[in-house]
């Protein structure tokens, strides 16, 4: 009786030490003596840093309570953050009016989600709402003084809310201004070009701190008495102008990377300057510089905390204010860790979204 093998026998699994966790570790962590040594050293280093950190932040930490006496265990005192959480979010905004801030935040989140989730239709209208109507709604809700809402002065604004207001206004206003400046700098009209170059170089040539100081310390002295610009408004204008100069240079990089043929093709189609920019050049140029634009946004978001030097209570400043209370002196570390975490969440989300956007808009093969 002959045995005829109809099909090849099934292939054996690879040796155990080349697959799974073991295999991965052999291949990536312990491939050579040098690598093994590096792995061990780094592992010991990380663990010896991590253990005290986890010990401090979680195991020994105090979570519930109302006063500093509830923090006895020697670890992190999250009670401090807990007690001040509302303040960190809303600043000194009157408690009875805080729903207005929350409402603005909810509208903002819904609008952003509607813009970002591809399946939702009517992007154009949502975009128009976000750009033109949302700022008006948000302004009246936050400032009040109309429609039966009590007036809340901007010097009571603070915390994460103020940080977001500054960042969003800066981002939304600096982008169009930056596009115009970038186009102006490449314009063939001598006056427009020189004005744009002068603007960009002057604003890029001074530190943001100087701009803020000028806006809060010098400007009031030049204005006639009684003409009192809101301090927040002054800071917002300063930050926007400052960021638009940086934005312009990022966008100019994109414009310069577009081959000349694209410009010529657009004119050959009979498009005028604005049409060719809007329909042909800018869509390509902006797409190309998304990482640069988002980079500028992230740095703007972090720069917002500089407003603490002109006495505005952004997230960082309100945390500092909270541990200046004699009852809570000495909880600076917990406060700073919390602020850093919030900043990280926002900046990291921005960077992830930009990567997603790059991927989505990629048209090369």
């Amino acid at each position: 009786m002959a045995i005829i093998v109809q099909s090849p026998s099934p292939s054996l699994p690879p040796p155990a030490n080349t697959t799974g966790l073991m295999g991965w570790m052999r291949q990536n962590l312990f491939s050579t003596v040098g690598n093994s040594l590096l792995t061990v050293v780094l592992f010991v280093g990380i663990v010896s840093l991590l253990i005290p950190l986890v010990q401090w932040a979680f195991i020994d930490a105090d979570w519930v309570g109302t006063t500093r006496d509830d923090c006895k265990s020697g670890g992190a005192c999250w009670v401090f953050v807990n007690v001040h959480f509302q303040q960190f979010m809303y600043g000194l905004y009157p408690e009875a009016e805080r729903w207005r801030v929350s409402l603005v935040a909810v509208i903002l989140v819904i609008t952003l989600a509607a813009l970002m989730i591809p399946k939702i239709p009517g992007k154009k209208y949502i975009g128009i709402f976000a750009l033109f109507f949302f700022p008006i709604v948000a302004f009246y809700l936050l400032v009040g003084n109309r429609f039966g809402l009590p007036h809340v002065e901007t010097n009571l604004w603070g915390g994460l809310m103020l940080t977001l207001v500054i960042a969003i206004v800066g981002i939304v206003a600096a982008l169009p201004l930056g596009i115009l400046l970038a186009l102006g700098r490449r314009s063939k009209m001598p006056i427009v070009r020189s004005v744009c170059i002068a603007f960009i170089e002057i604003w890029r040539g001074v530190p943001l701190i100087t701009v803020l100081f000028m806006s809060s310390v010098m400007l009031p002295l030049f204005l006639p008495e009684g003409m009192d610009f809101d301090k927040l408004l002054r800071a917002l204008v300063g930050i926007t102008l400052f960021q638009s100069a940086y934005m312009a240079e990022v966008i100019r990089g994109g414009l310069q990377a577009i081959p000349k043929g694209q410009y010529e093709a657009a004119s050959a189609l009979g498009l005028n300057y604005w049409q060719s920019m809007y329909k042909v050049i800018l869509p390509q140029a902006l797409k190309m510089v998304i990482p640069g634009i988002v980079n500028t946004f992230i740095s703007l978001f972090k720069d917002t905390s500089l407003v603490l030097i002109i006495g505005l209570f952004d997230l960082l400043a309100i945390v500092q204010a909270a541990f200046s209370n004699p009852k809570w002196l000495g909880f600076a570390v917990e406060g700073y860790v919390f602020a850093a975490l919030v900043f990280w969440i926002f900046c990291f989300s921005m960077s992830r979204y930009s990567q997603h956007l790059e991927h989505k808009l990629r048209t090369t093969h």
């Binding site: 001040h84 408690e95 009192d228 030097i309 500092q320 004699p326 002196l329």
Partner: protein
């Protein structure tokens, strides 16, 4: 013709850009019209101006703002606070953004004479002091010969320290740090015997130590830092209101009046108290305020001692001793001209 034109232009310019120096009483009218006192305070400074968990301002400096509001409106809550950094504080006052500044500012000749401002009084006598560990067993700065001293770099503290040790023919070894946190860490770790800074600062640094009780602040003060409220030049009425609101708190302590007993005491026979509280007949104090303004200050804000103990003294975690800020009759410097 040409010169007339130039003059007119110059006049217009100076009218537009002149410092806000208006007729007397303008600030009071403006304050009454808007219904609150706009008061410049510190970006939080523990015990002097800080916010609590609910975001309400309190502190020794804040109480001066509240006293002025109590005097003007009979309501100490009618204050709006503008937190100011050290650099912008005087500009904010000069430009009219705030009505008064109560932000631990040192009263000096140049500030009083050259910057268009008036210091209305002193609500805290500060000065550079020394903190030592109890272990060291020193009770006077005069015994610090050969000590190592922790200081913050780049402050006048450094110069005062050098002067003091040279004047007393003592040696010391300075150890400088960039930040106050680092300074206190080094002091706690035993890298220096002495920590020097403004006394008000020393007490809040002491809280940062894991065992605050192990350190003491020495009684000597080696520099003069009188801190007080400031107003703009050129409005004497407002200046006097701020000055006497502060004096009302000090005088109340002198007379033994506080927020709890004042109602009872003005029913008594003491003419001083009756006169102080505006309870006597025909008792017009010539300030353009309600007759009971000083009563309102004491009733709503408290006397100086209450304010001190509540914000920086024994009733607060800072536990600053009265020291120079005790009343004149207790060996301190706080003194009010008579209310008569």
């Amino acid at each position: 013709m040409k010169s007339a034109k130039t003059l007119a232009v110059a006049g217009l310019l100076s009218a537009t850009f002149a410092m806000p120096a208006a007729h007397a009483g303008a600030t009071l009218d403006a304050v009454k019209a808007k219904g609150f006192v706009q008061c410049g305070v510190s970006t939080p400074f523990p015990g002097f101006a800080n916010t609590n968990e609910k975001g309400e301002w309190s502190g020794l400096d804040v109480d001066v703002c509240r006293a002025v509001a109590a005097a003007v409106f009979g309501d100490a809550t009618k204050v709006k606070y503008t937190p100011l950094t050290a650099k912008e504080r005087f500009t904010a006052l000069q430009s009219g953004e705030i009505d008064m500044l109560s932000r631990n500012s040192t009263w000096t000749l140049t500030r009083d004479s050259g910057m268009g401002m008036n210091f209305a009084g002193v609500n805290y006598y500060d000065g550079q002091g020394f903190m030592v560990t109890k272990k060291l067993g020193v009770d006077s700065a005069k015994k610090l010969d050969g000590a190592s001293v922790c200081i913050q770099a780049g402050t006048t503290t450094e110069l005062n320290l050098a002067d003091y040790f040279r004047a007393n023919n003592m040696k010391y070894e300075p150890i400088t740090f960039e930040k106050s946190d680092e300074t206190v860490k080094a002091f706690e770790a035993g890298r220096c015997d002495v920590l020097t800074s403004d006394q008000s600062q020393l007490y809040s640094l002491r809280i940062l130590m894991s065992d605050p009780e192990s350190a003491v602040v020495l009684p000597e003060v080696i520099s003069k830092e009188p801190l007080g409220p400031v107003v703009r030049n050129g409005d004497d009425d407002w200046f006097k209101i701020v000055r006497w609101s502060l004096y009302a708190m000090i005088e109340a302590e002198d007379l033994g009046l506080d927020s709890t007993n004042i109602d009872e005491k003005i029913k008594g026979e003491s003419p001083d108290i009756k006169r102080f509280a505006g309870a006597a007949e025909g008792d017009d104090k010539n300030l353009p305020l309600d007759k009971k303004w000083s009563y309102n200050v004491v009733k709503q804000v408290g006397n100086y001692s209450e304010s001190f103990e509540r914000n920086v003294g024994q009733g607060s975690p800072l536990k600053i001793a009265r020291g120079l800020n005790a009343l004149w009759k207790n060996g301190g410097l706080q003194y009010s001209p008579p209310f008569r």
